[in-house]
Amino acid sequence: MPKVQGKRRPRGVRSSIALKILMAVTGLLLVGFLYVHMIGNLKIFFGAETFDHYAHWLRTIGTPLLPQDWYLWIQRAVLTFAVIGHITAAVILARRAGKARPVKYAHRPKVQGSYAARTMRWGGVIVLLFIIYHILDLTTGTLNPNGKPGEVYANVAADFAPSRWYVTLFYTLSIVAVGFHLRHGLWSAARTLGQQRPHGEKIARAVALVLSVVLVVGYLSVPFAVLIGLVD
């Protein structure tokens, strides 16, 4: 296709499709991280020593080319930018959508879209609140009952102890919210990036569902393993 010339270019990243592409790309990047994070989490089933060693190894990635911890901080910076980009685009698009319908319908049955599709925005807010809590809990250790750096296994075990059932409950709800968010989000990202064949749509929807379910099961296996005493 011929290139779009000079003044005909859209107003850069402010066009609605450009914002959607930003959401799709940042979203996929974050899902990629979630999968790597989940695989790391599952190492808890290999015992305290393996798990703590893995957590320590994360700090040494890239050494000796990079000083200790540098890779981790680079990744944190990239993820933070992705989260900010994702949320900024979401807020701009949500505000535009709100402005596009200033007068609401008096009679409006439930939208046909799936539960996952209808809860993308509020689900996203829940996920954001969870990320903040999760960092304070298991990264900085501020809200963790054990909260000692390096004692990752003990921190997780203390976190999901049966007496702290409300933490496990919040964690479960948040992970399920992530699952719903991705079930629509992954498919939606494929469509935004140009998926356009009816057969491909079925595949994209199926892949989104499978990836979401696997992610939810993978993440929830850890707190429930602690709860039933498999990890302590």
């Binding site: 296709m1 402010r14 609605s16 209808r118 935004t192």
Partner: protein
Amino acid sequence: MDIQVRVWRQAGPSDKGKMVTYDVKDISPDASFLEMLDVLNENLILSGDEPVAFDHDCREGICGACGMMINGVAHGPEKATTTCQLHMRHFNDGDTIDVEPWRAAPFPVIKDLVVNRGAFDRIIQAGGYITAPTGTAPEAHSTPVPKPDADLAFEAATCIGCGACVAACPNGSSMLFTAAKVAHLGLMPQGQPERATRVVDMLEAQDDAGFGGCTNMGECTTVCPKGIPLTLIGRLNADYRKSVRGN
């Protein structure tokens, strides 16, 4: 059959407007929804009231003039059906039916159920055309078009621009409309010269008009009287990305 309609009454663009309930008695189940409104209007005129304003033209389901939210669903409960082709037999005796205009900032209410859909015209003006010289129809075999392309282009070209997609979209987005126009012209050889600029210009006109963005809910395609497929929005997205990146 006897029914009750709760209709949006708004005297003019600056009027606040409200839902008003009317009884409509002795309607034939074979009457169309618009004919039921005609009967209501005759009664209103006889009693000295202002009739309910609504858009209509061909009443054959092909012009795109009619359209209203019926019980919160664009064009009412029947799939792939315009309001004029919807018949009262799909309702029950004694029903109360809510009738509202399309709700979207780019579609301001002119009166009652009539909205200004000029925003669609501005999207078309921005790129919904080809500059190939026209005239009499050329020999059909002179420009071969692959059958699947022709079929998809035709499917997209069945869009009548009624605005149901916008009315139904939770984001007030016209993405399905724009996608249909972009696909319909972009699949044809005659549409290639402007293919890259068309998608960018039409999308810019759509954003400027104040339509929301697409979140792939699929509400639009569900209510579309012509069943324009949601996959065309993927095509629009791909065309847009390629146009802006220039490959």
